[in-house]
Symmetry: C2
């Protein structure tokens, strides 16, 4: 089978590529083994040393290029996006990639004639504004960012294209993914990875929010499992609606640092400095942190068992088990 | 002030044009009198005998044409749409008009440099699937038609363009409008007007659903009032979300015919024949009929007082007070 990943040069795209190439058995729900994996991004991802992997340069905002990219694909993971802060700063770029890009992809798949599966990476940023204490599967979407609005519109289209039988889509609303590898980026949530990643690597990290700030988190390992699990579920499982919130873990920032102390010791945890930043505090406080993701749980998606599991997974996967 | 109406050749577009031209005072919330009313549609509407009215041919799916159309507009009523059954039958046409058309309009207004007001005619078709008994202002949108999906996506964009300060939009979710003048169309709801309109005009009408079928209705008079009221409300009234359900009346079809009997007599009511149609029954049963539109009520929107008021208004407005 042929799989295409958009946004394949990103942190999750690369991990998903490696996971798919590393599978010993076909994806659940598919009977063919992986024969071709196209990893597409604006700048193509580096080669992964597997003859089945083909890096591809593709601007998702270019309808023609997208059509060529996904020809004959049996399954597409659509991860390409302009992230939150970026889409807010450059509205046109966000619309072009997050909305038009998704639309180009849907159209290309519709006209490919194969009714392929599509896994769309949405986000809990579709929630916003005046929300209930606990977000349920029936909480309405009133996003307060362009990114969230574009993702919510994308979900509507994925659902409608699926309902019409043009393709077989499923949209996963991702929690904040922690611990991301690499360097801090411009996302307001970047500290949530930094306060674990940097201390473990021997560096100081600044935490701009108070210890009692709660966040809704999922590890890279679990989200990569979720992408594959979502691809394999029968269409009937989704009923009349193709979106769901991935189960995650609600953790206070103070607990995150405590866990780091427990796992890596006082010296490591002491590398986190709390330096309040009212602007970031306000943004993070506006994000929903408590969810009752019954639908995702009933479909077999799983959150991390504990924040400790998340920290240990990061140490294993990114640091080869070593703490600086 | 300059006002533009898209879909001006339609039943509601024409009524709204006449209402705006007939006002003795400026719209509430505006201090300037109407100096130019552009009525745009694919085929331009007929002249209305008022020098302020300018019929215009405009394909809303053509970005350039839309930009020209709304230049210098202070207020736009966006009524142009491919309706439900049509958008379901011709997916591309629905996307082009209902989604791209709305987008072209938003972009044109954004770049017009005036931050104009926009009233967007959405629909209760944004609701669908597994719904609660009573729809509230926080019920989630899971549309089960392309029309509903496109309207819901349009609402997300209207909200985001407003949040960004590109324009000042408000989206009204319209109930089924009854009694529409003219002839039956291809909408599954067309009978709801026919069973009143045809008997009053001396013709037979077929009702394809059972008397206990409930519908959520609003009269042409009230919706035209609602469009004008929505235009005048201060932006702050809307808070973080620009959409609302218009208050309507929940009426069983049997009550509708009973009301016709009371208002126009047995001979007229006897012109309605109940001929069950399982396909139409299923479609109508899938529409939500019970709402608690607190938000709309608190903003001063009003439903009709009774179905009798709706019937009498039709007789006055469309039949010059005469019953055949």
């Amino acid at each position: 089978m042929k799989i295409v990943i958009t946004g394949a040069a990103g942190f999750l795209g690369r991990k998903l590529s490696l996971a798919l190439l590393g599978r010993q058995t076909p994806l659940p729900g598919f009977d063919q083994p992986l024969t071709e994996l196209v990893g597409a991004d604006l700048v193509p991802p580096p080669d992964l040393g597997d003859r089945r992997f083909r890096p591809a340069a593709c601007d998702i905002g270019d309808a023609q290029a997208v059509r060529k990219l996904v020809a004959d694909a049996d399954l597409v993971f659509h991860l390409a996006a302009i992230v939150s802060a970026d889409a807010e700063a450059d509205f046109d770029r966000g619309m072009r990639v997050n909305l038009d890009g998704t639309r180009h992809l849907l159209e290309a798949l519709r006209h490919g004639g194969r009714r392929p599966r599509l896994v769309f990476a949405s986000s809990v940023a579709v929630y916003g504004g005046d929300l209930p204490e606990i977000i349920t599967d029936t909480t309405h979407l009133t996003p307060q960012t362009s990114y969230g609005s574009q993702k919510a519109a994308g979900e509507l289209l994925v659902n409608d294209y699926s309902r019409k039988g043009f393709l077989d889509g499923r949209s996963l609303r991702l929690p904040t993914i922690v611990v991301r590898a690499g360097r801090p980026n411009l996302a307001a949530s970047t500290f949530a990875s930094s306060i674990i990643r940097e201390p473990l690597a021997g560096e100081e990290a600044v935490c701009p929010v108070t210890p009692d700030t709660a966040m809704y988190l999922l590890s890279p390992r679990r989200v990569i499992e979720a992408f594959q699990h979502a691809a394999g579920l029968p269409a009937e499982t989704f009923g009349e609606w193709r979106s769901l919130v991935l189960p995650g873990l609600t953790v206070r920032v103070g607990e995150m640092v405590e866990t780091l102390r427990r796992v890596a010791g006082e010296a490591v945890a002491a590398r986190v400095r709390f330096v309040p930043d009212a602007r970031i505090q306000a943004i993070v406080d506006s994000w929903p942190a408590r969810f009752a993701p019954e639908r995702g749980l009933s479909m077999g998606f799983a959150a991390d068992a504990s924040f400790e599991e998340i920290v240990r997974a990061h140490i294993e996967d990114e640091l080869g088990g070593r703490i600086a």
